[in-house]
């Protein structure tokens, strides 16, 4: 359903992504792991045009786009079919939890308010926060804010949701509630591309794992194979360094 080819991105003299190619099939839950500064986040941001790639193509659905020369209309059309969950939640501070979810429906999709409200309440129920619908973000914990952010992404019925280190800004005791919501989402067949440091999520929930280092994809496999039989020496080194910490 989504294929990236030859994605390159540099910030001035720093090469952040070198010739990254990646395929995501419908229903895949792909974990992107790797050390800090390996370009994982930039990859996601390029896919939703929060950064502009220097070169590369994106096949989304049945159309192919040149990532360096996106028409504004195409960007808008693709964003309508994708969800994005940020590391720092980025909830609208002047909107309640419910309004955070309805905003994209009522304003961007011109849905009528009652229908949007029903969909939003459903989405909030899925993340276990229907009783917090009228709370403002400042009145919610980090874990709750991130769950609202996930509801906001889910409510637009996207074909894929991008997660950018969704648990990295959370206190340790709040990580579990967010991961469990993501696990539920994965079991419903949602296509997900998840940049994460959570190895348990990569191992137990994701169906595929992509390992990135220095802006390039080093290894890619099903998650079972990836953890059982890592092929590259660098992957093995990374995995053992993580095992050591746990």
């Amino acid at each position: 359903m989504l294929e990236v080819a030859g994605l390159c991105k540099r910030f001035d003299s720093l090469e952040v992504l070198r010739d990254v190619s990646l395929r995501v099939e419908k229903g895949d839950v792909t974990a992107v792991i790797g050390p800090s500064g390996s370009g994982k986040t930039t990859l996601l941001r390029c896919l939703n045009f929060l950064e502009t790639a220097d070169s590369g193509t994106l096949t989304f659905g049945d159309r192919r786009y040149d990532l360096s020369r996106m028409a504004r209309r195409d960007i808008a059309a693709i964003r309508m079919q994708t969800g994005f969950v940020f590391q720092s939640f980025n909830l609208f501070a002047n909107r309640t939890a419910l309004q955070n979810v309805t905003e994209g429906l009522v304003i961007a999709r011109r849905m009528n308010r009652e229908q949007a409200r029903d969909i939003a309440m459903d989405a909030l129920r899925r993340v276990g926060l229907e009783d917090r619908a009228d709370h403002y973000p400042s009145q919610l914990s980090g874990g709750q804010q991130q769950r609202v952010a996930i509801a906001r992404a889910v409510a637009t019925d996207p074909r894929i949701i991008y997660f950018d280190e969704p648990t990295s800004a959370l206190d340790p005791e709040l990580i579990g509630e967010v991961l469990s919501v993501m696990r539920d989402l994965a079991t419903t067949g949602m296509t997900m591309l998840v940049v994460t440091h959570e190895m348990r999520f990569a191992r137990d929930v994701s169906s595929r794992v992509v390992f990135m280092e220095h802006g390039a994809i080093v290894e890619e496999n099903t998650s079972a194979e990836f953890f059982k039989n890592p092929r590259q020496a660098r992957t093995r080194a990374f995995l053992s360094s993580i095992e050591g910490k746990r």
């Binding site: 939703n48 045009f49 964003r79 980025n90 309640t96 994209g104 961007a108 906001r152």
Partner: protein, 225 residues
């Protein structure tokens, strides 16, 4: 205090207050409203880095903030007739005060816009909203809330600054006072009296500010509150 002085003070009170209500107040309200429009537009231009217009906005702020208000009043009222532009005192004052206040408030607004975390703009894009939609519904409301106290400050400053309009023959409170002083030779009492009336105006505005801030806080959702 002598009876004569009392009589002068009581007699002059309405004669100072009335020009206040007829001139100072409309001048402040009209000029500040225009200044808000200018400030918002100029701040949005800079926030969005609009080509060509951004340097123009910077230039406007640079010139206006770098020159005295009194000089600006003189240039427009006494200077422009040289170019064939004749303005009555009141419209001239409105123009100068709105342009002057607009420059200062534009900087306040720009700071307030930049205080809204950029991630909320990105989140808006990601749920499919356009730049205009995110600005109107998410960023601007939060920026206005953040700008409310400093803008109230500017408004209170402005009420007092309108006394400078006396220099271009606007018959406002201060000029009215000067005329009474010229007749009665009681500068201390009368200038204290007009100071007191300015204080009344500012006090009412301070109350309005508190009331406004409470209203905004009650609506909830202030970032990091």
């Amino acid at each position: 205090m002598t009876e004569r002085l009392w009589n002068i003070l009581i007699d002059s009170f309405p004669r100072i207050l009335l020009p206040g209500l007829r001139m100072t107040l409309p001048l402040t309200v009209i000029a500040f409203a225009l200044a808000m429009v200018i400030a918002t537009v100029v701040a949005l231009i800079q926030f969005a880095h609009v080509k060509l217009l951004t340097p123009l906005a910077r230039f406007y702020i640079w010139v206006v903030r770098g020159t005295p208000l009194l000089v600006q009043l003189f240039v427009v009222f006494y200077g422009l007739p040289k170019l064939g532009v004749y303005l009555d005192a009141f419209p001239a004052a409105v123009i100068v005060f709105s342009i002057n206040e607009g420059a200062y408030c534009a900087e306040t607004m720009r700071g307030a816009l930049e205080s809204v975390p950029a991630g909320q703009l990105e989140a808006g894009y990601c749920v499919g909203m356009s730049y205009a939609q995110v600005m109107r519904r998410i960023v601007l409301p939060q920026a206005l809330r953040a700008a409310f106290p400093p803008l109230s400050n500017s408004l209170i400053s402005m009420v007092k600054d309108t006394s400078l309009a006396a220099n271009i023959t606007v018959m406002e409170m201060f000029m009215a006072t000067q005329r009474i002083v010229a007749r009665t030779y009681e500068p201390l009492a009368l200038y204290l009296e007009v100071a007191l009336i300015y204080l009344m105006f500012s006090t009412v505005l301070t109350w309005l500010q508190r009331w406004g801030e409470r209203k905004l806080a009650a609506k909830g959702g202030v970032a990091h509150a």
